[in-house]
Subunit: 412 residues, 2 copies
């Protein structure tokens, strides 16, 4: 019986065991220009140094007024105000609005001293000379953004672990924060094992196949915001695999061994990982399909993964174990995931006590909703992954999911 | 009355008018290494040059057999086979399996000539010498991946317009496709207008604010897979804005003018765009909130956008108009979007005949589902965008959405 079957863990247990062994993480940081920080993970809490806006701004084209002067105004009984000047954009408002007075102002302009509201131009009428008729009352503060209404000086605006989105960059730059501390990208070493595996630019001989997993894994690492390092394809010899792993581990932050799919290859991977250092293999076998023979380990305080050799398992286990571990190491709240909701098109069977991941294609149904159509295929077929749009999880405590049920589809 | 209010279009109409004026697109292509092609858009259909796998592969550790030799076998009445050799990984199977014979094979190994199935090692027993007891029958083809079962030679594997995912790269490399033709990234020029706008590294004077939209837009362009080009901040002078736009247009594929929010700034933007060439402004005003004063135009066969100056409108209109236009220009099927389903926490009011986009925060409810909590804030506040996780659309034909309804939240 293969060793991995002795203590099978549920996927959440397995991940918890790994993350607990790694302990709390203190990511290494680096300073980057805010303009280059898209999708990077903040390594510091950021506070506003000043109010935003730091002057009261009009949100309408119209007239800056004293609200009290407009009380009771209406179409039948307009208020008459004297226009005493204009606020220029991007300038200090150098006109003072006294009682019975108003000043022209455009959207974004600075409220002049004396005024406490803006009346929209559509609610006024020029009455000849410098007189403006006001046809509606405004309340104090109306049509204004107040000082600090967007952010107050001292406010915590973004927290450590946050992944920076386009609007976050805009918001930081609005506050003059032009440089930020972010978690350094992790280097993820990828070793592909197997006597049958050749590089993609080589013509496979009889019984050989081209390397698929290394490149899929590398792209998954890139998409997670980190740096893949393809160590290379290593033949199925303990000494060769061990040498490659020993040499790679000090030079990366995370190591993935993507071994072949046979029991002997898997056992060899486990032995190699055990030899890398303490505590070594923590989980060997997960109640998961596909992906059961997954190895989770820690050596030299670094996570080491032995992922199953077939492409579908490789992708499922990356998503379940590697991706959250990478997020943990940089203290990011959650890995980015795309999820859509769909109606399952047909029954999917599973076994209670095991998490199943079923590949699905998505189609629009007549009512505009999404339908998830299972793509059945052996998990050693790469093209079943390509024909699919995402995966549906059958939870541990379910024996299957019935046609018509609403499911979450994790897109890939 | 501002000119934009004369012919207001619905958002779908507005986009259709723009895309029709652009006509069918023939993206410029470039060749890239498949390993560097993550998230790029294919500019060619790709076919398999050979079968995958191109030899029958075992999916189990066990013995290659003639299925007929195992018919009727059981625990009580095993079939006895003679082990005549072993298939080595990555080698041609040089052993022949005759009647009553078997050969050791590991997962991924090549089925030897003569054999037509594999029996799992768990369903056999060594009986001394070279004799193997088979305790269960197998059907022909069992525990095998057949030649071409993953992909057949000549099959269309990926189509033009497809955005390449990690598994696609793996699948292409498995077929030896190491280079692909992809659509060239588009250069998107971004001009920011406004006398009140200063660069983020400058200290704003009285009445001034730092540029927010240029950098948010640049990051949105990057995220869409294209190349932003920040032309710069231009003051509110027709001649200056016109000169900047005229100079930028020939040097980019798409031009965005992110003008100020006042009517005079918007009208100036429209006039500048009109002067860039035929057909000029196609849409000026969309039944949309926020984002009504959007300008969609074509000049020199290139899309030109006049986006509203406030940050929330800017982001909504990028998503509704710029993003699908970029996808159209590179013939990509759809821009990638992240959507989750949630229950709306409170009533949201709108007006029939107008599409509203409401910013929401997401929280997990006690039952594990997501709750969308509207973040009410003026659309000129950048931090309301930062506090939100996504947007909910109130469709054209709805006067609002009630608390408790299920809504799609487009994450940003």
């Amino acid at each position: 019986m293969p060793r991995e079957l002795f203590t099978v863990r549920t996927p959440p247990e397995a991940l918890r065991i790994l993350l607990e062994a790694l302990g709390p993480s203190e990511p290494r940081r680096e300073a980057v220009e805010t303009t280059d920080a898209l999708d990077r993970v903040l390594a510091e809490d950021l506070h506003a140094a000043n109010d935003l806006p730091d002057f009261p701004r009009s949100t309408m084209d119209g007239y800056a007024v004293r609200a009290a002067d407009t009380f009771g105004a209406g179409e039948g009984l307009p208020a008459y105000l004297e226009e005493v000047g204009e606020v220029l954009m991007g300038r200090s408002a150098d006109v003072h609005v006294g009682r019975g007075q108003c000043a022209r102002i455009a959207t974004g302009g600075m409220l002049p001293p004396g005024a406490d509201a803006v009346i929209m131009v559509e609610q006024t009428q020029e009455a000849g000379g410098s007189t403006v008729e006001v046809l509606r009352p405004v309340a104090p503060g109306e049509n204004l953004v107040q000082v600090g209404e967007d952010v107050r000086a001292g406010n915590l605006v973004l927290t450590r672990g946050h992944r920076l989105r386009p609007q976050d960059l805009g918001g930081l730059l609005a506050l003059g924060i032009t440089q930020v501390q972010v978690a350094r990208r992790l280097t993820v070493g990828i070793i592909s094992g197997g006597d049958e595996v050749v590089a993609p630019d080589q013509e496979p001989g009889p019984g050989q196949i081209r390397d698929v997993n290394s490149y899929t894994l590398a792209a998954l690492v890139t998409r997670a915001g980190h740096r893949p390092w393809l160590v290379g394809v290593v033949p199925d010899l303990f000494e060769r695999l061990e040498a490659a792993a020993r040499e790679a581990l000090p030079r990366c932050d995370v190591l993935i061994l993507s071994a072949g799919s046979s029991v002997s290859q898997r056992d060899m991977t486990a032995d190699v990982i055990t030899g890398l250092g303490k505590p070594g293999v923590l989980v060997h076998g997960v109640s998961l399909r596909p992906g059961k023979p997954t190895i989770l380990a820690v050596a030299a305080n670094k996570p080491v993964f032995g992922l199953p050799g077939n492409p579908v398992s490789c992708m499922v286990t990356f998503d379940l174990f590697v991706s959250p571990t990478l997020a943990h190491l940089v203290s990011a709240s959650t890995p980015p995931r795309q999820v859509v909701t769909a109606r399952l098109e047909r029954n999917v069977a599973s076994t209670t006590g095991r998490e199943d991941y079923v590949q699905v294609r998505l189609e629009r149904s007549a009512d505009g909703g999404l339908v998830a159509i299972p793509v059945f295929g052996k998990s050693n077929l790469i093209y079943s992954l390509i024909r699919a749009d995402g995966m549906v999880k059958v939870p541990l405590d379910r024996g299957g999911i019935s046609a018509g049920e609403t499911v979450d589809v994790v897109l890939f």
